[in-house]
Subunit: 491 residues, 3 copies
Amino acid sequence: MDTKVEQNGGSIPMEPKRDFKSGQDEGKTSEASKVPVAILGSGDYSRSLAGRLVRSGFAVVVGSRDPDRNRRLFPQGAEVTTRQAALSGARLVFVAVHRENYPDLQQDRDALAGKILIDVSNNTKLKKDGESNAEYLARLLPGSTVVKGFNVVSAWSLESGLFGGSKEVFISSDDAEARRTVMQLAQDMRFAAVDYGSLRAAREIEAMPLRLLPSWHLALKMVLCVLTFYVLWNVYRGVVFYAVKSGDNYAAHIPIHQVNRALGDTAITTLCLVYTPGVLASFAQLYNGTKYKRFPNWLDKWMRARKQLGLLCLFIASIHACLSVLEWSPAYGYDRLFEKTTVNANGDVVYGMMRWSGETFLLFGTLALFLMAVLGVASIPSVGSSMNWREFNFVQSKLGWTVFLFAVTHCSVYVAEMFIESYLFTSYTPPAFYIDLTLCAVLLLLKIVTLLPCVSSRVDRIRRGWERKAPKAGKTNAAYSKEDPEMTSYL
Amino acid sequence: MDTKVEQNGGSIPMEPKRDFKSGQDEGKTSEASKVPVAILGSGDYSRSLAGRLVRSGFAVVVGSRDPDRNRRLFPQGAEVTTRQAALSGARLVFVAVHRENYPDLQQDRDALAGKILIDVSNNTKLKKDGESNAEYLARLLPGSTVVKGFNVVSAWSLESGLFGGSKEVFISSDDAEARRTVMQLAQDMRFAAVDYGSLRAAREIEAMPLRLLPSWHLALKMVLCVLTFYVLWNVYRGVVFYAVKSGDNYAAHIPIHQVNRALGDTAITTLCLVYTPGVLASFAQLYNGTKYKRFPNWLDKWMRARKQLGLLCLFIASIHACLSVLEWSPAYGYDRLFEKTTVNANGDVVYGMMRWSGETFLLFGTLALFLMAVLGVASIPSVGSSMNWREFNFVQSKLGWTVFLFAVTHCSVYVAEMFIESYLFTSYTPPAFYIDLTLCAVLLLLKIVTLLPCVSSRVDRIRRGWERKAPKAGKTNAAYSKEDPEMTSYL
Amino acid sequence: MDTKVEQNGGSIPMEPKRDFKSGQDEGKTSEASKVPVAILGSGDYSRSLAGRLVRSGFAVVVGSRDPDRNRRLFPQGAEVTTRQAALSGARLVFVAVHRENYPDLQQDRDALAGKILIDVSNNTKLKKDGESNAEYLARLLPGSTVVKGFNVVSAWSLESGLFGGSKEVFISSDDAEARRTVMQLAQDMRFAAVDYGSLRAAREIEAMPLRLLPSWHLALKMVLCVLTFYVLWNVYRGVVFYAVKSGDNYAAHIPIHQVNRALGDTAITTLCLVYTPGVLASFAQLYNGTKYKRFPNWLDKWMRARKQLGLLCLFIASIHACLSVLEWSPAYGYDRLFEKTTVNANGDVVYGMMRWSGETFLLFGTLALFLMAVLGVASIPSVGSSMNWREFNFVQSKLGWTVFLFAVTHCSVYVAEMFIESYLFTSYTPPAFYIDLTLCAVLLLLKIVTLLPCVSSRVDRIRRGWERKAPKAGKTNAAYSKEDPEMTSYL
């Protein structure tokens, strides 16, 4: 591989691959294509970066304090030399050193002047205030153009292929031209470059790798609260109450029986939580008479958590199904759903089949679970991205409400069978499924209202941009288009 | 499509789209980079488009009728001004207005002349005949160059990242140069541009967002027919017959017992439907003596539905497995698969284990299901695209036929155990599994024939391009290469 | 962000990033864009290639020996002509003919001189020695520049869209400029081009399509060995021993009961195999005092198999769960986990519930399985690529060890209940779960050692690059950064 560095100074175009030749330029172009990209630093990240650049067809020169020792650590095709030599030929310089070593770079101030420095650094902790690493670097080296980028890409991503789509790389710089140059570089390295504007945005970009699944926080909190509530409720009614009242110890049945009841209650309640914000948003739009008014903040956040709520619902419903199968026997209070098992004259046991209620109960639960699994599969990014908007909407909205109706049927059959039992209120509290079904009933009622012709036609008009009156200045926003109330969006 | 070849020898640059600067142009380049892309219209789509362009590093200027009111709706970085001002500096103009407002654009005819207009419009209904929106726009503004594109991308996709791979964007225009310019623009916006040729193709492109899972229609119809047939057959034999004959009411066992039997029958029949067209195609090729003759239309469509049939088979087999577990007891007619449960001297029940037939029956069913799940996972686009052709073929063909053999074994063990029972033909009809297994046997026999050395060597030669005789003109086609009869392709 | 609009009229290039042609070049550019790409050969691959090029906006000209006959086989937009005519206008030539026909190309030696030939050929068998097809072609046509590439892309991939991300295409050539030109071409065809350096690498590139899931070989071998061992062990203890000792025949219970035991043992042992190499690597780094020393070869390979081991563990644990549910009854030796089922005065059977041990046993097993399924979903490429490094690490490491602890609890509860039974050592061998749990205990102990503050702080320092002493030359390597011992990486 050709790694010889032509040292032609700053006037040489920095793009190694492009520059396409017309015939007469060919000599010049080949020269240009050898203009290397420099990397300062010889750590792991530097090495992975060098490898990716080489595989993307760039000439790479690494500036190291101890080139002889470090040479063997770098992939074939990358030249390892002194900092001074590395900088002389390059126009684009990756700064792959720790922030605490930035001041040392001032020694090379002159060699770095006029060049584009790409700050790839990350922090180990979120800095609440103060400047980003990139801004600090720009302050130290005012003669260079600093661009923030690539920090969201790990050494591992640099070394691996791109199955599952290109990683996004966020670029910011105060120099628009430098930003575009580095965006082009990122694309040539098979990343998807996103323009984040001025260097101040580096604060936001540096915070990204420190995030821990932020889109899941709200949904997880909601589901954990619901689950805790139902576990406590069911344990009180099924264990604590009897322990206090009659001294019976049913604690042995917490792990499966009470937990499983709570999981079922949580699953259907979470399903309500998925579909409620969309219905509320419709009412908000009807009330506002426009879609350009911002939703209350809580509603906005709730709508953005619907995908995660849906996936958590699938997770919980799956565990519920598994535990239900394991306790599926007349022993566990399901005797009303089974015919009696008896002993015949020969002393053989003759098993009872399920009643119609047991079979219907199971069928709808099973169908709801497997249709929800289809929704889950459609939420896998590469599956969802192969659908058009109409298809995605069909799957998430039509199929989603079908799942809801099946789940409500599953729950209702069970309740209908248990309704008449006298012990329902024995613990001075209703069973948890009363709470679930009340939530479901309210949601269904509200949904039916939005489907009434007179209401739905007005909602449709509003969503197409119609407004009852001109919005007052300062209250409108553009945030809405991201979230469609009709969508129950698992994606 | 422009395919005329200019024969200018080697001195002409071969790259149609790029054309990079050499050093001395650099000043000019920075200027060029500020030339903005214009957007006409200020609806949701316009705003999402502006955001994506800004994030992709473009200067954006939005032409609005009421710029002061709309400015705040647009993302930072996009300039909102009057139509006239927006058009003056741009060469590329997104037309993000409704078709019914196209005539209004004629007011700006002069400002739009010589520019490339990108028609992003969609229709709410499929237009059977008549011109596309893009052709209509081209007719209204003959001085401009109209390019169709981006309509398949929703506002949501514009605003979101690209997890799961870039969305494809289909571009058509009568001007090849304009088409290439817009394709480049699409790629710079991180979409994958596909050239659809002349503007007439806009009719096809405008129909795309109105599609509702067309690749699933045939498979869904086939599976629904099969399922309905088996449900009716099983309900007749298990419920209707006894109701009429002896007045016994077994309707309570429809939801699980009869539906589950029908699901099992449907799953194995669907598996046959997955593998049958590939075998038929081999025979068609043997008969034709060439692979260049078009298959009958029905076979072609069937082959293209194999992936969907396979996924529906997995869906149905999963539900069948879940319901089977729930009814897995001697009560449900499986007493031949269990040893007797008895009562011992203490009055305790001593449960019977399964016989060898019960255990074998379950083992093969379980293995078939989980291997089929592996096939399903390999059908996820980002998983499938990480495999080479040989690996994909191995998974879909070798593993697929293993699933089929395991499923047939599962079914056969059950049948073998039930075969001798006298009540099999009591309803003057055979049980449904006779039908399944007959289909399986026929398919296996045909498959074995294609595997005979004399047959398979000829099929291989044909697939490598050998022909018994030169094809007659007008009967050949190139459609075949897309569908490989050997592949049972879930992808 | 720079949004100022320069109003310079129509002659200014509109593309911000690419430096497109300014006005006066326009004529030249349009001309250039018509310079076609040539394809030699008219087989299936040639046709798919032509289609992809046309859809990517290229002018395509196909050189065929019999253009009149083959024209109709090619997609609209591709010109089919004689070889001589096709070559005259092109500079880039795809050579889509079989290796055995390469010598025929020497007839067109002059027309091919100075052009870039892209060798897309594949072999049907792995060639142990000798030159690659591309080197052979370069030897036959010394006047042309040969580039290897595209052979990893099937005709099917060429014809289909890019759901699931672009396919990678590996490019090698001795001419760096030609390599870059073809890489650009590949990217314009919506593939991701990877630079593989000189033409000698074509040997490696040509071997790629012949690979059959090489990353799975080691993991599959390990798991199959473990599974075979446990099946034999369980069949000996549960069937062979009793057959020999007392003549009892328990063979009927091999398919579910003994296989399922073996699957459970295999699942937990495989989980140990996933987490062991990471712990061993930590100790190796502690011992070496640096992270720059290469791990022993076996450890390196083992670490690279962790993802596959994890997915196989999920597969086996799922089957184990399904079979367990099917045999979940006191009949199958689980009577210690159930209360007694009795017969009441009416002759009705009163089912016993599970004891606390049975419920706990099932709960932890179920939770371990479904959390492992979450890890499996995070291993889907398009899901994993949407996470940052911290998130990925959290899911694979934190969640992974949680799964391990739950699985160990599941196993321990069962063992605790069975521990006291006198028949444990009746066959002169311990039950298999003794082996599992011993492995788990050793692994847990080692893991706990690495978590001790004094040890973990030193490991952290080593991983950040600290070294106890300068490494000796010749013993260091860069391979390490790819595999992080902390990661149990299912991805």
